[in-house]
């Protein structure tokens, strides 16, 4: 009996030894593979870009701000969770999504925070992307290597986007994890998919701001100027533009006695003007995705509402509803990227 035990122990030890050896072999093999592999210059620049971001103080500060505010909003949502869940609420089935949308008024909910801080993140990751390379004189050195010129700008964009994506997914999953621990109810498949969609849209939204600030970094030689212009645009679009739209549209406001189609047309015009804003598109898209009961983003007449049973939309319908918004966001992002791409390709590369 003792003998058998010993034998088993021996063989287990042998096996674990062998497996350890196999593992270390695989590890050295991978390392060797990495060391001896020829990597495309695009990937090399991208890797450097990512490591630059992650190592920088700027990134640490940003991630601290965003993590703190997001967790703050999640905690206030959790504290009022019992109040947020009302009886007869069509959103009730989507218990878990409340985590992202509920608030007691002291702090805005999670998705509003993302909409507010996302631009800041995008601007601060991109505002010195190109001009700092010019100012340090590194651009002529990099571009005199055998690489395509557009590899440089593409890699810059891809690197920053990777950083943003990883960050948002981490943040989103952390919130889900926190909710799981606190509420004890796991999200349904649909809720999970909705959250993933929300994260994806957030990434596109931040990518827009990233591209805008990369554009400024090509236009302006001084990083301070380009950062300031990015922030100015952000402030203008979030604060002043809606204000101006309100003032202007007041002048065209039809009287209360006007025909219904007139009022509808007026409301639609107002919305159209607001939908030029990327943050408007973002908030419409995220609201629809995170609150399944939202079934229209424009004005609805009483006839249209009459007889409807308040209930959540399936995910496919919600996505269909925000498809124009998402397309608009992607288009704005691509437009910014295109302009910066063309400007960069035409720029003369001179040493300092």
């Amino acid at each position: 009996m003792n003998n058998l035990k010993k034998k088993v122990q021996n063989s287990i030890a042998l096996l674990s030894d062998k497996s350890a050896k196999v593992f270390s072999d695989i590890k050295t093999m991978i390392l060797k593979e990495n060391e001896t592999k020829v990597v495309h210059p695009f990937r090399v620049i991208m890797a450097k870009e990512i490591s630059d971001h992650v190592k920088s103080w700027r990134f640490v500060i940003l991630i601290a701000i965003i993590t703190l505010t997001c967790f703050g909003s999640v905690f206030t949502a959790l504290a009022n969770f019992s109040k947020a869940v009302k009886p007869n609420d069509p959103n009730d089935i989507f218990f878990f999504l409340k985590l992202f949308t509920a608030s007691d008024g002291t702090l805005p909910p999670f998705f509003v925070f993302v909409g507010f801080l996302g631009p800041l993140l995008g601007i601060s990751l991109g505002f010195d992307a190109v001009n700092s390379e010019f100012n340090r004189g590194t651009i002529s050195r990099v571009l005199s290597q055998p690489i395509h010129r557009d590899s440089f700008i593409n890699a810059k964009f891809a690197g920053s986007l990777t950083v943003i994506s990883i960050m948002f997914f981490t943040l989103g999953f952390m919130v889900i994890g926190l909710g799981l621990i606190k509420i004890g109810v796991p999200p349904t498949a649909q809720e999970f998919l909705r959250i993933i969609c929300f994260i994806l849209i957030s990434i596109i939204y931040v990518a827009f701001w990233l591209n805008l600030s990369v554009l400024f970094s090509i236009l302006f030689r001084q990083p301070a100027t380009s950062a300031l212009s990015g922030i100015a645009i952000w402030l203008f679009l979030t604060v002043f533009y809606p204000l101006i739209i309100n003032l202007v549209s007041k002048a065209f406001e039809p009287s209360k006695m006007a025909a219904a189609h007139q009022i509808i047309r007026y409301e639609e015009l107002k919305l159209l003007l607001l939908r030029i804003l990327p943050n408007q598109l973002f908030s419409e898209a995220t609201t629809t995705l995170l609150m399944p009961s939202v079934r229209s983003l424009g004005p609805l007449t009483m006839e249209q509402l009459y007889g409807t049973i308040p209930g959540p939309l399936p995910l496919g319908q919600s996505i269909l509803l925000v498809w124009p918004q998402v397309t608009g966001l992607i288009a704005a992002t691509i437009l910014c990227f295109l302009i910066s791409y063309v400007l960069f390709m035409r720029k003369e590369i001179r040493p300092r």
Partner: protein, 317 residues
């Protein structure tokens, strides 16, 4: 030696109405050190940028290693190393990391990149500083690291644009010696752009003088001086202690020598122009006459003279 490695034909670059480079024709042969000499703003840097395909020429063609730089810049850039005037490094990376980055942009795997970078750092004498951040490097060290950075891609040609700017004299000498050594040992063609005459004179096999976007002259230093000073190619300078001997008196004595042209009084010395080298005869005549020869100098034209002569001409035109 007669392999044309850089060939510029009618190269022109205009910025608006300003012509930076004006119908430039230039040929550099394999293995030589060619000096591009010209004042600031002569269009040297623009020409170099066009060779690398970083700027497009308005007209004309650039061929480097037989490849057109404007249409195939990538191939050219894999064969040409370029060291700009003030090379920029990523300050938060170490010297070694900066080199490895460049090597990897040249399709080198990591392990090979590291070996090569260490080898080159040793070669330029920066081994002790290889793990220091380049932000803390001195000007001379940066420039040497720049040379290592250029060499890491095993170039056929290296282009140095004002590489010695801001380095102290001993640093300059070391740097130039390093370049000559590299060129001779590895057969690398070097294009050396500078406005420093003495440095160019020290290292270059051939020189091109470049003013206002035009190449005014091209050749080795002797050829250039012959071309320039065709009228009076040889000048011998003498000083005498006996004050009785004036220019006219000396002229009477020296006229017998074949090849003598003229003598001019130049304060305390005399300049003798002649059509051939008559220094020895002059010395004999003056000593025999008992004039008390204290100083005798066969004047050779340095780049200084060539330079000034050209710039005078350049400004007039």
């Amino acid at each position: 030696m007669n392999n044309k490695i850089i060939e510029l034909v009618d190269l022109t670059k205009q910025y608006g109405s300003f012509t930076a480079v004006d119908h430039l024709n230039l040929t550099v042969h394999k293995g030589e050190i060619f000096g591009l000499l010209g004042p600031n703003g002569a269009g040297k840097s623009t020409t170099i940028l066009m060779m690398l395909g970083l700027t497009e020429p308005t007209s004309g063609s650039v061929k480097v290693c037989g490849i057109n730089s404007t249409t195939n810049p990538i191939e050219v850039k894999s064969k040409v190393g370029y060291l700009p005037e003030d090379i920029g490094f990523y300050d938060d990376l170490t010297g070694l990391e900066n080199l490895i980055y460049t090597a990897r942009l040249n399709h080198m795997p990591l392990i090979q990149a590291r070996q090569k970078a260490e080898l080159l750092l040793q070669r330029v004498g920066l081994t002790n500083n290889s793990n220091k951040k380049t932000g803390k490097y001195s000007r001379g060290m940066r420039q040497r690291l720049g040379l290592a950075d250029v060499l890491i891609k095993n170039p056929e040609i290296i282009i140095l644009d004002e590489p010695t700017l801001g380095i102290d004299p001993s640093g300059v000498r070391e740097f130039l010696e390093l370049i000559v050594k590299l060129s001779k040992e590895e057969g690398i063609t070097v294009l050396f752009s500078s406005h420093h005459l003495h440095q160019v004179q020290q290292v270059c096999d051939r020189v091109g003088i470049f003013v206002g976007g035009k190449l005014l002259a091209e050749g080795n230093i002797q050829e250039l001086s012959q071309k320039l000073f065709a009228r009076n190619p040889f000048i011998t300078e003498i000083k005498v202690s006996n004050k009785q001997y004036t220019a006219s008196k000396l002229k009477g004595l020296l006229q017998k020598i074949d090849g003598f042209i003229d003598i001019a009084d130049n304060k305390d010395s005399f300049q003798i122009e002649c059509s051939r080298d008559i220094t020895a005869e002059v010395a004999k005549v003056v000593v025999d006459a008992g004039a008390g020869l204290t100083y005798l100098n066969k004047k050779e034209y340095g780049l200084d003279d060539i330079y000034y002569r050209y710039f005078e001409g350049g400004e007039k035109s």
